[in-house]
Symmetry: C2
Subunit: 479 residues, 2 copies
Amino acid sequence: MGETNSQTLQAVKQYLKDHFPDDLELIREFLRQPSISYTGEGINETAQLLVTMIQELGGDAQVVATEGHPIVFGELDQGAPHTVLVYGMYDVMPADEPDWSVDPWAAEIKELPEQGPSIVARGAVNTKGPMAGFFRAVAGYQAAAGKLPVNLLFALEGEEEMGSRHFVPFVKGHLRELKQADTVLFPFFSENEAGIPYMTLGTKGILYFELECQGGQWGGPTRRGVHGSYNAWVANPIWRLVQAMATFVDVDETIRIDGFFDDVAELPAEELDVIREQVNAGRMDETVFMESDHILQFKGNLRGTALWQRLFSQPQLNIDGIVGGYTGEGTKTLLPHKALAKMDVRMVPRMDPERVEACIRRHLDAHGFGDITMRVYNKYPWSKLSLQEQGVQTMLKTYKDMGKEPVVWPLNPGSAPYYVFEHILGVPYVTGGLGHGHRQHSNDEYCTVAGLLNFELSMAQWLHDYAVAAAEGGAGSGR
Amino acid sequence: MGETNSQTLQAVKQYLKDHFPDDLELIREFLRQPSISYTGEGINETAQLLVTMIQELGGDAQVVATEGHPIVFGELDQGAPHTVLVYGMYDVMPADEPDWSVDPWAAEIKELPEQGPSIVARGAVNTKGPMAGFFRAVAGYQAAAGKLPVNLLFALEGEEEMGSRHFVPFVKGHLRELKQADTVLFPFFSENEAGIPYMTLGTKGILYFELECQGGQWGGPTRRGVHGSYNAWVANPIWRLVQAMATFVDVDETIRIDGFFDDVAELPAEELDVIREQVNAGRMDETVFMESDHILQFKGNLRGTALWQRLFSQPQLNIDGIVGGYTGEGTKTLLPHKALAKMDVRMVPRMDPERVEACIRRHLDAHGFGDITMRVYNKYPWSKLSLQEQGVQTMLKTYKDMGKEPVVWPLNPGSAPYYVFEHILGVPYVTGGLGHGHRQHSNDEYCTVAGLLNFELSMAQWLHDYAVAAAEGGAGSGR
């Protein structure tokens, strides 16, 4: 069986290579369709487009309405013994950064100095680029081999950038169908700037909230800003918010909130060993990030193993944005009536989102800032994945077979709603694929053209190899 | 002469009353012409309009170019023995506040609950409303009496809201002509919500600056924002700015900057007496401001004499605005590369703007924030005026003659470039006129219609009485 399979895979890969120019145009076309999470622009159009794309593969699909943006639920029955649930997010961040060098919705191909020809577009990497690439890989597989070696289910949500607010009810409402899956696959470009693919074993959780300070009994203008000269008399809500926030951390950003670290688990010794080994082998190298993102110094001046250990084992309390008063150009004197900060906590295993939220509220109250409003937007827990899962092992094998030595990350430092798969659905998951993109949530988000082809090839190989491993009895064994 | 003069003044006032409906329309027309200081929108058109308005009075006028917005310089020779220099500002703030109930450029008349029919428009009070009203008062005076009892000079600048950046060079370049003036008059609505006119004896100075924190050697992203999850590794410029700003003040906004108060002069005992007397008589009443501006509590819970003493004797360190990172709706996780605050210091006598600026810079450096940029926009000193100046005495007499008991403010808590008159030109000045307007620098800025007519009448009376006093040898006596 190995020989035949191997020939099939070779044929599929050749087909994908031969037809890549056409695929590239289709992927660019998909990126030109806006699907902005917060504003809702293009969300419905994109959901409909995905239904059509699943149907074109021969599957059934429908748009499932939620209280927010719809979820595309699809099924591609290939008469195979095993089933993969493809998770994806078709929504993207706004492209409101002022410094885009091209139209973020034109999906132009630019020659980037370090990375070569790349699609520069909102969603190129996060994540409509890999999503569209996955569809092309499946279509190519079918064209070259007749059908896929596994059945697919699709659950493609449109609110990931807003915290996947309605994904849980969807999963709970479709448990029977979704539990048919042996594994969940989240297709994504996993190579960094240096071409090293990384495998994340889970993800941090998130608590995203706003703090708002408004004039009231404590002082400050209560309904509208007043002339700035009255600050001689009347307190300023921006000063108050600044003072409150300053109590959260030291100057070096060490978090000083009672109870915040209570549930933080140590990184398992074996994972720390993996980090050390990879750092020593030069395959976990922070200088890649320093160069790509123009960072001159890390917190606490850490480097190497200690730095990576921090990334995977420490929570953060970040300020995503702050605004209040007059922020236009030039000078306007104003005593504003409110100030607002947007903040996020990234939680590591065993932190409890509810407890963390309560700690922050208690801290504000205890420091005399009971008037400051805390408005929680997104809140979901971390998730942890075993290295032994069949999907993970297959992905690592795919990388190695394609000549890439992967790096294992004990945790994704960002957040994704993987807890839904782990805790609600009870099905293991894997994130991956070759390919490279960067600058998500920033201007000039991109993915490389060469990486896109490698991504398609790696998805074909993973589907192929996963089917083989499952047939050999491995599927789901890690559960 | 008194009798004739008195008859003349009565005739002028009757004329102004009879023709007020026409004046009102002309004033509204003037307010519909935008003249936004920072953007420059309508600035040149407004300057040209003012030249025409001076010419229509029979005067000569020209637009004097500066490196910024032009200054309108005019002369109205009435063959009189004494000359008044009319200072004015034809520029206004942007009307970008979201909560305007009407088009800020339509100069609509609205019935305000407390104040009755009022023009609601950007510039209604600050200061195109009084400026246009002054022109109507002069035109009416000429129509009824043949000519004014004084000559006028006009110096109308277009950059007051940006700190009068080019007014000093203009004055220095026209010293010979401007020094012909016996006094400077800045026409303005001086009544508060309760109809009490106030007379300010000078003004606080201003230091308006921006603080900017950007990623650099200390940490933080240096060129653009990166994904928020990297705050586990990389420090946040908003945190740093917040921490730096928090060192400036205590929670109650007590300023903690070494040297900041070194030059602050005590309020003279006689001025404190005037305050106490006026507070006790109920003519200096902070509840008027509390109600109009929806303030529930003052700093330090002060009230009465102590509160007013604070307003006239204490500097402030205000945050006009703060911005950094993602400030749109909903959630976006971002580790931004910079954060910005706009701040102003209002300086009382004997504070030196240069020394204050140096204190703040030294404070930042001493606290380890040498990397934070301090960008000064506006900087000019306080000015102090004697109650004995002829122009001031005439204005107080005007108020009393028209049935209003004025309140004396030892200092304007806002800022105006009066130091130019006091220190550079060497001519005394007076600010005043009846009438009421409010909400400058905020939405729904207004002036009352009834107040506009009283303003015109008071300007006519002041011009008349000043000429009489000057003829009796009083003009310039206070110099």
